[in-house]
């Protein structure tokens, strides 16, 4: 028995030490390349960031001097970390358009995007090196197992990003692993209308989401960057069915960020054929919307 326990403990210890060593190394190497990884073209002064709504709606190739780095299921904690690191290396950025949709601010979304296994693992794999101690402690307190799994996965991801950082020119101006315009290819509008699942959600404020959104606002103010809260187009059926409590919460958060501008295009008239589902535009919709946005931002 003693022999078994010693051998097993030794094995675990060795695995742990090697994993820790690799983690420290991967974290170190990726930080060494941050300058190269996060630097964007000098002529880009508009950044679109947020969740899948922005990711699918804004085709940045149609909006001059802009970059879309939104990613599906992105909680404001990661958006904050991304903006902070981006601003450090790119002083040409003048305006940040951040996704600001109704359900971004509720507990239901927060629980999934910030604390569910799937999202913690996925996002920590990509962004652990960007987070500060407070961000990490929030995650560790709420889902330590998923955080550890994400950290383990980040080792390989960091090395891959490190390798890719030597070939930045192959990424057409995109930031590696930072998201970007995506045609989701969804075709579920009618299915979603039938399901009508949004009504079933119980309303509660997403405190961390709101806290980090305010941090983003504060950060932009400090750096003299214009922050625009962008509510992308929603299907009319969806818009008219948003529960009042969620709508009021959205208004109240918006009012607390009165220094920042609001670009509420959620009621923009867009045909059904442009929606992939109730809240996401398809490629055709993105083209239409991006053209409109480009005109509006001129």
């Amino acid at each position: 028995m003693k022999r078994f326990l010693i051998s097993f403990s030794l094995f675990i210890l060795l695995v742990g030490s090697v994993a820790l060593g690799l983690f420290v190394l991967s974290d170190y190497v990726i930080k060494q390349r941050e300058n190269n990884l996060l630097k964007i073209s000098k002529n880009i002064n508009k950044v679109f960031i947020g969740d899948s709504n922005v990711e699918c709606a804004v085709n940045d190739s149609m909006i001059p001097n802009s970059i879309n780095i939104a990613q599906s299921g992105e909680a404001y904690m990661y958006t904050y970390a991304k903006i902070k690191s981006l601003l450090e290396y790119n002083d040409q950025i003048k305006t940040i358009y951040i996704g600001f949709s109704f359900w971004d601010l509720i507990k239901f979304t927060e629980k999934i995007w910030l604390f569910s296994n799937e999202f913690v693992i996925e996002k920590i794999t990509l962004y652990n090196y960007l987070l500060n101690y407070y961000d990490k402690s929030v995650l560790i307190k709420n889902n330590p197992v998923a955080y550890i799994r994400g950290v383990l996965k980040s080792i390989l991801s960091n090395f891959q990003v490190f390798k890719k950082s030597f070939h930045r020119d192959e990424f057409n101006g995109r930031l590696i692993n930072f998201g970007g315009y995506e045609n989701s290819g969804r075709d579920k509008l009618q299915e979603d209308i039938k399901k009508n699942s949004f009504k079933e959600q119980v309303f509660e404020e997403g405190l961390f989401q709101i806290e980090y959104l305010k941090k983003i606002s504060e950060l932009c103010r400090q750096k003299s960057i214009k922050l625009v809260l962008l509510n992308t187009p929603k299907h009319i059926y969806y818009y008219s069915n948003i529960p009042e409590a969620i709508r009021q919460n959205w208004i109240s958060v918006r009012n607390s960020l009165s220094r920042d501008s609001l670009l509420d295009l959620s009621r923009l008239s867009i045909p059904d054929s442009c929606f992939g589902d109730l809240t996401h535009l398809n490629a055709k919709g993105a083209k239409l919307f991006s053209r409109y946005l480009n005109e509006k931002l001129r």
């Binding site: 078994f4 051998s7 695995v15 296994n117 197992v145 550890i148 799994r149 390989l156």
Partner: protein, 490 residues
């Protein structure tokens, strides 16, 4: 608490340490502790169904004693029938209620009656098919006097709810598990170390292989109408590997866990995809279920039918083959149904049953043909061709198993055998395919061993540990997402 979760790693560590360090002097306390641990494990999924498990185990404990107690055959039989009705009744209600009610309403609407659909849906308790089968074999073995009823309630309950096997097998019958529970268990270094290796291999095939294959396979089967024939063919191949990796991975973890606690469970897989014919495949795939059906259904039906037939031929078919056909069709119909309340599973079972009958029928003519053309039965090319044909049958049958409905399975086949079969596949998960190759190759090399990580032929410890390290890091770095085990749904 999934076997592939950190929670289970903690749970098992605590159970292991208390079991061997604190309670190692007293078998009664060890058994009681294992029973409680099993209930904690099962209750962690859904505590409401824990009561169902306890009630079923208690009922079978009482029935077992009563079957054993009476000498008179009639009374024994009454208790047995009561046991069968209770067990099969519970399984029927929980597993097949929704299916039969839906089928009834569909049938009614087909003949013109529009009935209001029932809104009552019954949730399937996890592992019910497995622990009901354990219970059935317990009372049937007592009835057949293969096993004496055990009057120690803790030992019986433990044999019917032992946590490594409770959710998805192996269906280790109480006749082989109970003697191990009763006997004092000694800690053996070799057995425990082998258990750990088997767990490691199970985790590798589950996390690195099955979980990585889950996403592309789900995508292909869910959106099959958007994909080319070659992609659909790849999808069926990927599912073939996924279901094997998923279930054999689970079985390896279960067997390894039991080894850590001093138990020996039966092997559940014996590298089935290297089988030369369909009979061999079923001797190597989900062995605990196949042998269960063989012993409690196929053989009793065969004997019962053979007693009734006095002629040499029935419907121009030799009696021997006729009995085999009848017993096979019933057994494979029920094997399919056991897997799930859906027609797709029944079709899957009947495909295998059909090919088994076909194999049985062609055995003698085949021998003659081979003799006539002068080909040895062990000819390598012949073995290779037959293995390939067997694998093709298995793969195509999996399409029914995986599809949501028969109609979708048929459409999937239409998609495969279209002109786009010869185009380049739209989905080709390189990493998962690479791991599949590593896994299948390792298993082929190690096919004479109980599991792929029995590496005692490698003399140097450093090399063995290097291999274990490599596997651990593959799991950590390349493991797929949180996927439940496929067989949990059965």
């Amino acid at each position: 608490m999934l076997f592939n979760s950190i929670e289970f790693a903690f749970f098992l560590t605590i159970v292991f340490l208390i079991y061997w360090f604190v309670l190692n002097r007293n078998i009664k306390y060890q058994n009681l502790f294992l029973l409680l641990a099993s209930y904690v494990f099962y209750g962690s999924w859904d505590w409401r169904f824990l009561f169902l498990l306890i009630m079923i185990s208690l009922a079978n404990y009482i029935i077992g004693i009563n079957i054993d107690k009476y000498e008179v055959t009639r009374k024994k039989k009454i208790w047995l029938i009561a046991g069968l009705v209770i067990n099969i009744g519970i399984l029927g209600v929980f597993k097949y209620y929704n299916f039969f009610v839906d089928s009834f309403f569909d049938l009614a609407s087909l003949i013109g009656y529009k009935l209001p659909k029932s809104s009552t849906r019954i949730i399937l308790p996890l592992g019910i098919s497995f622990y009901i089968f354990l219970s059935l074999s317990y009372i049937l073995d007592i009835y057949k006097k293969k096993l004496a009823a055990n009057y120690n309630i803790i030992e019986v309950l433990l044999s019917l709810s032992f946590f490594p096997i409770i959710l998805a097998g192996p269906i280790q019958r109480p006749s082989t598990l109970l003697p191990q529970i009763v006997e004092k268990r000694e800690f053996k270094y070799d057995q425990a170390a082998d258990g750990l290796r088997q767990i490691l291999w199970g985790l590798f095939v589950k996390i690195a292989l099955a979980d990585n294959l889950a996403s592309p396979t789900d995508d292909i089967f869910l959106n099959f109408s958007h994909y080319s024939g070659s992609t659909l063919l790849i999808g069926s191949l990927l599912y073939t590997i996924q279901i094997y990796a998923d279930f054999s991975g689970y079985s390896n973890i279960a067997i390894g866990t039991a080894k850590l606690l001093g138990f020996r469970l039966m092997q559940n897989f014996d590298y089935p995809y290297f089988s030369r014919d369909i009979t061999e495949f079923w001797k190597k795939w989900h062995m605990s279920l196949t042998s269960w059906f063989r012993d409690y259904l196929f053989l009793p039906i065969s004997f019962a039918v053979s007693w009734k037939i006095k002629h040499e031929r029935v419907f121009y078919i030799k009696t021997e083959l006729f009995i085999y056909i009848v017993a096979s069709l019933i057994t494979w119909f029920l094997t399919g149904l056991w897997h799930g309340a859906n027609y797709t599973f029944i079709i899957w079972g009947m495909i295998h049953g059909g090919f088994l009958i076909l194999y049985q029928w062609q055995r003698k003519p085949r021998k003659k043909v081979l003799k006539t053309i002068g080909i040895n039965n062990n000819n390598k090319v012949l073995v290779l061709i037959e293995t390939f044909i067997t694998l093709a049958i298995v793969i195509l049958a999996w399409v029914f198993f995986r599809s949501e409905s028969i109609q979708k399975a048929v459409e999937y086949f239409k998609g495969i055998f279209s002109t786009s079969l010869f185009s380049f596949p739209q989905i080709f998960p390189k990493v998962a395919i690479l791991f599949s190759m590593i896994c299948l190759l390792t298993e082929y090399v190690q096919r004479k061993k109980q599991h792929a990580l029995q590496l005692e032929n490698i003399r140097y410890r450093a090399i063995r540990w290097g291999i274990y390290f490599g596997i651990v890091f593959i799991i950590l770095f390349f493991g797929g997402g949180d996927q439940k085990f496929i067989y949990f749904q059965f």
